[in-house]
Symmetry: C2
Subunit: 415 residues, 2 copies
């Protein structure tokens, strides 16, 4: 055991003795981020119930959302309001339902996916565990494709989508991707829009979750996938999802679905059977609070002021402990809610286990892969948004020391 | 043409000339009913975001609902809170999703319904058009069974359910049924709970939409279907749905799902893939506003004070115009939102058409039947909640005169 390793092990034991209880599993906003939108609560009475157009928001109706909420959505997404649907409090719901509708009823004139022998989705990895959970629950086979810094490995994606008619969809988080922070390049986006697909009803499930969630001064722009698809002659290919969950209130925000006019008609046909309308009261409160794109951008600056120091604290601690360790790397995202830490092959699970024993709970190793299976057992997802900066420093030490200890165990096993 | 008919026809033309525009299609609360819950809007700031148990309602989580909202639901439904789920703003959503989950994933250990050769539902008729729309959209065959004053024709229901394993479900609106106002008798409820079913995963879709919606001094009680099913040895048979849509705000209320512990576990497994939690802020506002069963009952009395005169105006006008017409009858509901008018066979469509020409829009004739097909063309659904009493009087005159005119056309056709 080297002196350095001995020191590290001691420190791991010392941290363990402190009985920490830090949850780094989910991309949850912290309370002070939610406080930023206190006006949404305080001004609810002033928002009232009558929309600009005289719609009584208390009553039934308007299945695609309050007109001014759709206008705000259009402004935020850079689309015509007629292409934007506002509904529910969670974009995950809308993604689930889009797949459920496609399975049960088909998309547009296509036959219901449930009648196909098999339905498969491409899943860039590491990716978002909740996307994969939907596929697993609904019996959709997942095909992992590698994620690079500029988006998914397009040669592989193109080959698969062109060849296999069972591939009906592909998950994409185009900006500050969950969990690596990857930013899809314009070239990748163009290729996704243009590639030939064996399935005529192939769809990109475009989860623009972090469209406004910058961590640096540079505000990267989400690519205009819907425009690219139109230009590529595949106008109905992209189903876009976004929400204000990490803008206003995580559990009580607005969710957005956007797509081609034809897909919006399809959505309307499907949801009109499911509901007599969304909660327009919450839409009205949001419209009066968020107002426009500039107001929202100002709010996101205040989120950044809270989040950026947390990511910086994580980065500094990881650098101090792991900066010189071979085959260890981590992402330095420009936005979003996650950091990916890559260990040498075979050490992710053990690191998560050791961190848990020292009171730091991480997402299970492998969670960012279909079926929870990271074939190289080397990826950890770290969510630094919710704990305080001091907790994040401690947690990062626990994670770093857990990995070092795991590596040391490996050395000793081989000795 | 008799003198009386001539007078009626003249009056129909006179009413038509007034260019009325009265919508009697949907069971929508009127604005003054929504006004009753103004405190829900005014006191939103005071409700805040911290639950009794210190849960931050702004954030993610609690997929089955805020604990105190489930407790309130339990009190309202007469069930243990652990059997109650609070989610979304519309019980229709929950019914749709229960069927979608059953189709895609199966119920409990049962195989997904989509794998069955055929799925069929029993539909007491006349019934709720939106129930039937869900079945039609999801490819479920509908089998109409007659609805009596005390509930569905049980001999027929028992024979069908015992014989046909394709029958996976049955729609039930047990109290003040949509649209006839029927009240299921205790005997009918017992038989529904006890009857043998060929499909082991047969479910009653128990839409307790009008549980609190009395129109008379007598508050009829919804039958305890879940208890009956337990006693009958079919503890998982009933899936119960309710909402506060017609209690607080139609578009921004709380929806409730209740069932056996096993079915609630199933629901949790299904929805945990779909969402990170419902809008707990709206649940908190509701809990602080509605408080308990007694407070809700007081609120419903105020709804009754608004609604009862509208039903009375409709009844009086129909009686004056149609009281002595052979083979014409209508329901006098003790609660709920609808009146059913039965014409002689073959006159419903024409009556709706003539009423529309005179500015009174009714639900399309046949809408209360599967596939929109009323085989005897004799049923009209009238929704008197939204227009003013004066409008209802006019509308009832238009409906009555339209029917008389249609009958007169019939006489002349045959002559």
């Amino acid at each position: 055991m080297s002196d350095k390793t001995r020191t590290m092990t001691t420190t791991y034991e010392a941290l363990k003795a402190r009985r920490l209880a830090i949850d780094m599993t989910r991309g949850k906003p912290a309370a002070d981020q939610l406080d930023l939108s206190q006006a949404l609560i305080d001004d609810a009475a002033a928002a009232g119930y009558l929309s600009r157009d005289g719609i009584d928001c208390r009553n039934y109706g308007h299945g695609l959302g309050l007109p001014e909420a759709r206008e705000l959505g259009g402004q935020l997404l850079g689309l015509d309001p007629s292409q934007v649907v506002v509904a529910g409090n969670s974009s995950l719901e809308l993604m689930h339902d889009a797949i459920a509708f496609a399975m049960l009823r088909g998309i547009n004139s296509g036959e219901p996916w449930r009648l196909a022998d098999e339905v498969a989705f491409l899943c860039p990895v590491p990716g978002y565990d909740r996307h994969f959970a939907i596929c697993e629950a609904l019996g959709i086979r997942m095909i992992a494709v590698p994620m690079n810094d500029d988006g998914p490995d397009m040669a592989r994606v193109e080959a698969l989508v062109a060849a296999d008619p069972a591939i009906k969809g592909m998950w994409c988080v185009p900006l500050y991707s969950n969990p690596t922070g990857a930013i899809y390049s314009p070239e990748v986006v163009r290729r996704l829009a243009r590639m030939p697909a064996a399935a005529s009803d192939f769809r990109l499930f475009w989860d623009d979750a972090y469209r406004f969630h910058h961590l640096t001064e540079e505000r990267y722009a989400s690519p205009d996938i819907i425009g690219e698809c139109v230009r590529a002659g595949h106008p109905d290919r992209a189903l876009m999802f976004a929400s204000t969950s990490k803008v206003t209130l995580a559990g009580a925000g607005l969710a957005l679905f956007a797509s081609s006019p034809r897909n919006v008609d399809w959505w309307q046909r499907c949801v009109s059977v499911r509901t007599i309308g969304p909660d327009k009261m919450n839409q009205l409160r949001h419209v009066r609070y968020l107002r426009d794109r500039a107001t929202l951008a100002g709010l996101m600056d205040r989120h950044r002021a809270i989040l950026q120091p947390k990511f910086a604290a994580l980065e500094a601690s990881l650098q101090a402990l792991l900066g010189e360790v071979a085959d260890v790397s981590w992402t330095k995202p420009k936005g979003g809610y996650f950091v990916s830490l890559f260990t040498p092959d075979g050490y992710a699970k053990r690191t998560v286990e050791l961190a848990a024993q020292a009171g730091v709970v991480l997402t299970p190793a492998g969670a960012a892969f279909p079926y929870g299976d990271d074939p190289r057992d080397r990826h950890l997802r770290i969510a630094p948004s919710c704990p305080s900066p001091a907790q994040i420093e401690q947690a990062a030490q626990v994670i770093g020391l857990s990995l070092l200890r795991a590596l040391d165990e490996g050395v000793r096993r081989r000795a």
